[in-house]
Symmetry: D2
Subunit: 345 residues, 4 copies
């Protein structure tokens, strides 16, 4: 039984506790907080009343080093680096759900996060935690940078096509739509029920921080920098991301090759489900699960490829993927505690 610490008490932390409650090999031994120190975690999250007696505690890295085999960090950007440095140095596995280790180029991090990266030398050691793409590296690392929710939804459908040279690395459009939990538990006007419910809007046009993260991974797959635009939107629902990705078939490539490339890539993957022809995903079909669904449309006449993906932003888009990564890091079966079906309706 591995002992697990969770740093942070936001929605992704609560989702980690939910998942770990059903995991035979992991046990949550500490949850740390800033605002709720001393409070029972089940007071903060009453849906966990039957599942945890833990009290939120202050983040004490020495204590965590002693008590934990692995730690999930679920913190605002900028706060993870010193903690990871200490913990990983002491042999504790770290899965960082924040953004601090995702971008390999610290200048891009600094541009988008308006922060000097405190340990750029660590960026090379951290592995980008998309198991379907970096499985072997994840098994052998001490530090995983868990991907952003939007990037997971965009990278999984696009990377196999770029890697196979089937689509152009230019003119890619990722039009994404997310439920509100992606904005976290903090109080802000944009998460007020009355400002969200019965409405739909775009935000972060042209400058959302997940843009460069997507571009980085697409570029790695393409072997060249890609030209890509990412536009997120807010959907009046709690959970779910749907990304509609537009790209252009390369000269000579066929619609059949697109489907084959995706099906071949994900044939053995439990969590990635390439849907049959003419079936496109619905976020409801993955609600509360660790699954990603991908639908494919190619218009041969004009060569346009439309890929639609859906996932649960808190599960495969955050905490579920984080547990999947830790399973790999600890040599546990990758899908352990993650093979639950979603909730419908």
């Amino acid at each position: 039984m591995y002992k697990i610490g969770i740093i942070g008490d936001g929605y992704t932390a609560a989702e980690l506790v939910r998942i770990i409650a059903g995991h035979e090999d992991l046990q949550t031994v500490a949850v740390t907080s800033t605002d709720n120190i001393g409070k029972g975690l089940a007071e903060v999250y009453p849906h966990l009343r039957a599942f945890t007696d833990l009290k939120c505690e202050a983040t004490d890295v020495e204590v965590l080093k002693r008590r934990c085999d692995a730690v999930f960090l679920a913190l605002p950007h900028g706060l993870s680096v010193p903690l990871v440095k200490e913990l990983a140095g002491a042999g504790v596995r770290c899965v960082d759900l924040g953004a601090d280790f995702r971008l390999k180029d610290s200048r891009i991090y600094e541009e988008y996060y308006e922060l000097v990266h405190p340990a750029p030398e660590m960026l090379d050691q951290a592995v980008y935690g998309l198991p379907e793409i970096y499985r072997e590296q994840i098994k052998n690392t001490q530090v995983v940078a868990n991907p952003g929710c939007y990037p997971t939804s965009a990278i999984l459908p696009l990377v196999p096509l770029l890697a196979a040279g089937l689509i152009e690395p230019r003119g890619i459009i990722v039009d994404s739509k997310s439920g509100v939990s992606g904005a976290g538990k903090a109080l802000k006007a944009g998460s007020h029920f009355c400002e969200v419910n019965e409405g739909f809007r775009a935000y972060g046009i042209g400058n959302h921080r997940h843009g460069p993260e997507i571009a980085q991974e697409l570029g790695f797959a393409a072997g060249v920098p890609v030209d890509m635009v990412f536009t997120p939107h807010l959907v009046p629902m709690n959970r779910g991301i749907l990304s509609t990705c537009y790209c252009q078939l390369r000269d000579g490539a066929t619609p059949g090759q697109v489907r084959e490339a995706l099906e071949a890539k994900y044939a053995g993957e439990f969590f990635v489900d390439v849907l049959p022809e003419n079936i496109f995903p619905h976020t409801k079909w993955v609600y509360g699960s660790n699954l990603v669904q991908i639908g494919i449309h190619v218009d041969q006449a004009c060569g346009r490829v439309i890929l639609v993906s859906a996932l649960d932003n808190l599960c495969k888009g955050a905490s579920g993927q984080a547990v999947q990564n830790l399973n790999l890091m600890l040599g546990i079966e990758e899908s352990k505690a993650l093979r639950f079906a979603g909730i419908h309706p």
Copy 2:
């Protein structure tokens, strides 16, 4: 491994498949349908794509007898009786999620369901499937009448108080509010998104079929017929029931006794959670779980007792409770496959 058949392919059937997918001792071997015969169950419910290869088949009682150790019936009222008669006669355990075996008095059934009961002699054999109240009888029966969703939410808080003689059996008001999945998957004006979303209404005032079911069980507990009014309302959400129950403290009874009676009754019950003072349940706290939460308020001055209960109508209010019942019938640990936390947010 017990082989399970599910008769019907509505929302409660899908929820049964979801739960059984995580149950080590049960295996769904058949799902029957009227509208979707020959279709993959995962075509009808794509959230189950990774979890079932079953095709919907016609209901053939001979086949079910041969292939199933137990059967869940999730049918409109009036259709279960002949099937249960045959199946139970052949030694197949039956959990009927419909209403046909819930009311012990066939005249009340006939009044409310406008149907002559086809086998009133079977009503005595069927056990009302509330494990927290009829556990021992459930263990020893062949046929369980799984309670209605509203009744479960009203009976659990009120029965211990009536049984202990702490509240008056007169003037009880059960004001209940349910999500839309309680109305099922069938297309009707009242379930059209635009007719439900951004609105709230009462329905079935004075004549809802769950009224006599609640009254029956309250009367059994009180030892006398109760005077009770039940008013259901429709909430613009998928899942969840909250019942606000008003009743009158008996002369001489104290607020402390009310709390003690409920806490004592449910002390050892995993699925019933009596909340601390001044905490009242939220349907979100039980979303997707098999839990019931109960909050208590007593105004000593006027002797009014307010009990608020919350559950997930498809889980503890239907399919979760049905699996709980079958676990008992088969000698499996009662909470097996049901100890999952709900989804929040």
Copy 3:
């Protein structure tokens, strides 16, 4: 053209501006604010972009006295009294949408609002602004205490029956359900989208401030203090209140008399609609309008009367009613600018 000031810039203020934009005899000349001073009102509420050029200004009572014929106060409790004193003293008509002038007994105010009332002597001058009940007094007052949203929904159906002696003044239960805009625009955990959406809960059980307000008006109608319990609930929707009111028929009173009393009382009222037999209101049917709908159910056997009412909490429950009151105070046709239909769907 009367010149109107609005003190406060919350949701009810925005609703006032919306309504007054369609009013030929009123013109909004000032909106005051604490947080948004200097900002365009249409920046704060972009749905008003085409309808106002006003900038939010600081509340300066001298300026308001000079510029306004009438003022709406939409402030947290405790803040209105000194302003109303000054403004009314200077001949400016005041409609206070807050709670400071609603309760005639300052001790009850002090108990529920935890505040010593700064001018109890003014309570007698202020008229409780329910036009259907206090029309003549409203026409002749300088200060109207605009009723709470919940109280409007409970008082309108119950008062005629208490006044006619048709129902018992004891054992009245008002089980109310409100959309989230009733909690205002301020950021709080209870209004966070993810904490509200897909859930339903009760709150303020036994101590909500609208309880004594309802009791006061019911008591005035009954001629004796009433025994009444009020339980509010939160519905995941923006607008709308539905109240389910339970009471007991007096000995000798008949169901027909109940209907007749309500129909007679509201026969000439444009904004109160007593629905036909077996039709019960839906908050969607009054969404965005100034209407109240009332449905009636009487169970003669047990003498129980159920009244269901629906209104839009921001319109008839606040700003629409406020304009209705001001129309009366200024001698304008009462329904002016308020005869718009609601939005459906």
Copy 4:
């Protein structure tokens, strides 16, 4: 006072009645139906109880000719043509909210609607009812083809840029998101509350009927056929459309020119609101109103232009625009009865 007939009793018909109820020069004298003949319109739509006594009647073209000065047709495609032929022939103004007169090329109509057009010769007479583009023609026609909701949202932002030669007529992407009322009142699985709520999905990928309608109007503006892809999505809300349009700046064109072209085009238009820099529309800001909001983002480095538009699909996207058109046809002030603010929250 012009006498108005409405053929059809779906959501757009109800919205017409709502709007006309506030119109001093129009009076609804007939609403026709298939399913609700003989029923009061207010029984079908109780939000109209205070506003209409009309009963739904069968569609009798002779009666309509006699009684009506103008008729709105709100019918499924294929049904309007013979009615319009008769009515227009008799001098009755017709505004068709359906699709039968929108496409100028009957072969495209036949391909997408799978129906031989019954009167292709009439297509030239009908004017495409976008007042901001075809105002003069609308004033002088007998027959208006009221635009689709999605097309209105896409054409208004894109046409001025294509007409000015500022963007490429190739590679245009219109990624649109609509509330559920766009799918109408008919019962279908895709409009069941539980299948929509808490979910988001794309539909009609590559073959939605509004695609060629958008392409037609963009092509007219560009002077050449455009290459455009249109992808609609379903948002869990009642009303609202948001379209995110991606296109490419022409060589030599500047971001400033894009903004200037749109601002100049819509400077005098009450219903089209070009938002300031860095402000992007929210469907909530136009909820229940006849307004369209347009936000502009241009990335000069890569030449990508993103236009975001929002409207209420039942109002500016259907019935509001229809009344705007009829105002023009009848020589009434264009914005009459349409200058109401939307509802927020």
